[in-house]
């Protein structure tokens, strides 16, 4: 491996808090004193953010990235701005209007003759009011759209994380101190669901859903918190033979959970490809 790629790996490990204290201090000192190192570290940081946002940063590195980049407003803002830039790019924002384009009318108006001017002034007022109204609508639209994009991106990120965590081919047994397992039976007239108090530190809530019928090839779960528009889908789940019985296992990072009542809709994909609702479950989170 060349010296340059060694440096790249070391810097990446530095950003993901993967260096010992002595090495970390060495990189920090160089970051402050050597402009080439500074550029390399900042470029590596940009690339990590890019990988995170496009989903190619995975597994332990993804978790470490979150651990660092959630911690301070500066880093959170950097991630958010990179995300907004990506959204604008995808929405073809390269055609943002420029100041020069919008000032054409200002240059034309003084050339108009006087009688014509008073007639046009009235019309211009009408046009100006209409233009202002359109501008207001457009501005509100732009903000609404930016909010919508941000919300979409957030939802996609959560769903991607849930899909990764529940992918049967990648799923591994986790240390028992990191997992809180809860067996859920379908909601019935007499049941009220389970109450869960996740630990404050990061962990995984593992729900074991006991289905009333189990004829599907695969299953998907829709998670929704009461009183919120958030609805997250977890696809490609399978029925497993577990000590609790035949159950569908769904893992959710506890940091994604807010206080409140959650409803889960279990759907099954039948052998002929139809999706049918099987059961509904609920649990309540206390913090």
């Amino acid at each position: 491996m060349s010296e340059a790629s060694n440096d790249k790996v070391r810097i990446r490990r530095f950003l993901l808090e993967d260096l010992d204290e002595e090495e970390r201090e060495r990189v920090e000192e160089l970051f402050l004193t050597d402009s080439d190192t500074r550029d390399l570290v900042l470029m590596a940081e940009d690339e990590l953010i890019e990988e995170y946002l496009e989903g190619s940063l995975q597994g332990v590195d993804r978790e470490k990235f979150r651990g660092v980049f959630v911690a301070t407003p500066q880093l959170r803002r950097k991630v958010r701005i990179a995300q907004s830039l990506r959204s604008l790019t995808k929405a073809d924002g390269s055609h943002l209007p420029t100041v020069a384009e919008s000032s054409t009318q200002d240059r034309i108006t003084p050339l108009l003759s006087k009688p014509f001017k008073s007639w046009t002034r009235r019309n211009l007022l009408v046009y100006a009011s209409a233009a202002a109204a359109i501008l207001v609508v457009l501005t509100v639209g732009v903000f609404w759209y930016a909010d919508y994009r941000r919300e979409q991106a957030r939802r996609l990120t959560v769903e991607r994380e849930l899909a990764e965590l529940n992918d049967p081919s990648r799923r591994s047994e986790l240390p028992s101190d990191q997992v809180l397992s809860v067996v859920l039976s379908p909601v019935s007239a007499r049941s009220t669901g389970s109450s869960i108090t996740p630990r404050a530190t990061d962990g995984i809530l593992e729900l074991l859903l006991l289905p009333e019928i189990a004829k599907a090839e695969t299953y998907s779960v829709l998670i929704q918190r009461a009183g919120s528009d958030d609805e997250f889908a977890v696809p490609n789940l399978r029925l497993e033979d577990l000590p609790a019985g035949k159950a569908i296992r769904v893992r959710i990072p506890t940091r994604l959970l807010n206080r409140g009542l959650y409803r889960l809709r279990l759907n099954g994909v039948t052998p002929d490809g139809r999706e049918v609702e099987i059961n509904e479950y609920s649990f309540e989170v206390f913090r």
Binding site: F14, L15, E17, E25, E28, E29, F31, L32, T33, R38, D39, L42, M43, D46, E50, E54, S56, R66, G67, V68, V70, A71, T72, P73, Q74, L75, R76, R77, K78, V79, R80, I81, Q83, S84, L85, R86, L88, T89, K90, G93, S94, L96, T98, V99, F143, A146, R150, R154, T157, V158, A200, T201, D202, D230, R255, L256, L257, N258, R287
Partner: protein, 194 residues
């Protein structure tokens, strides 16, 4: 723990003079040191990274008069020495902060700031993109346009078109992003002052 030592004009001038005899160059060095310190404290997960960077500068400014004749070596290393001590203090108090941060839901991790802040950020991003030269604006949009293999192919094509290698393209994009980032910082400050 914050130290309020007071930052007088004399102390600031003394600090600048220690950094460089040319005041303009010293000013640039000062800005660079401050922004580097903010990054270091942020990567160390110290909540108030800006405050700690200012505190580091404050402490150094108070010591300059005593050390400027005897201290040998780059001033930046001295700054780092002070920062390292503050990092240790921050590490001690960080356990509580981490517990609180981790207890936050995803809803608050990416959109932790107020709606006004997020709107300001959006306005500033758009404003600053407009401030870029047209070729740079086109470049940054094109650079971030695709994902996966299509992204790799597009970037190769861009590098070829510009007559540079991929690494030089990465550096060019980094410079544009840095310009954009500085503009957004300035814009955010102005917006907050309004």
């Amino acid at each position: 723990m914050k130290t309020d030592l007071g930052f007088t004009k004399e102390k600031f001038d003394g600090l600048l003079a220690w950094l460089d005899s040319n005041r303009e160059v010293a000013g640039r060095k000062y800005e660079e040191i401050r922004s580097s310190l903010i990054k270091i404290f942020a990567w160390r997960k110290c909540g108030d990274a800006e405050g700690l960077a200012d505190e580091t500068i404050n402490i150094v400014a108070h010591k300059v008069a005593h050390i400027k004749d005897t201290y040998e070596g780059k001033p930046k290393i001295y700054f780092y020495g002070v920062a390292r001590k503050l990092i240790k203090e921050c590490n001690k108090s960080r356990t509580l902060t981490i517990a609180l941060e981790e207890a936050k839901s995803y809803d608050t991790w990416i959109d932790d700031e107020s709606k006004e802040d997020l709107e300001r950020e959006d306005v500033c991003l758009r404003h600053c993109l407009e401030q870029l030269s047209l070729p740079n604006r086109k470049l940054i949009f094109e650079y971030h346009e695709k994902e996966g293999q299509a992204k790799i192919d597009l970037r190769k094509e861009m590098a070829q078109r510009l007559g540079i290698d991929l690494n030089a393209l990465r550096v060019r994009m980094y410079r544009i992003r840095t310009t954009l980032g500085k503009c957004i910082d300035r814009c955010m400050k102005l917006q907050q002052e309004k």
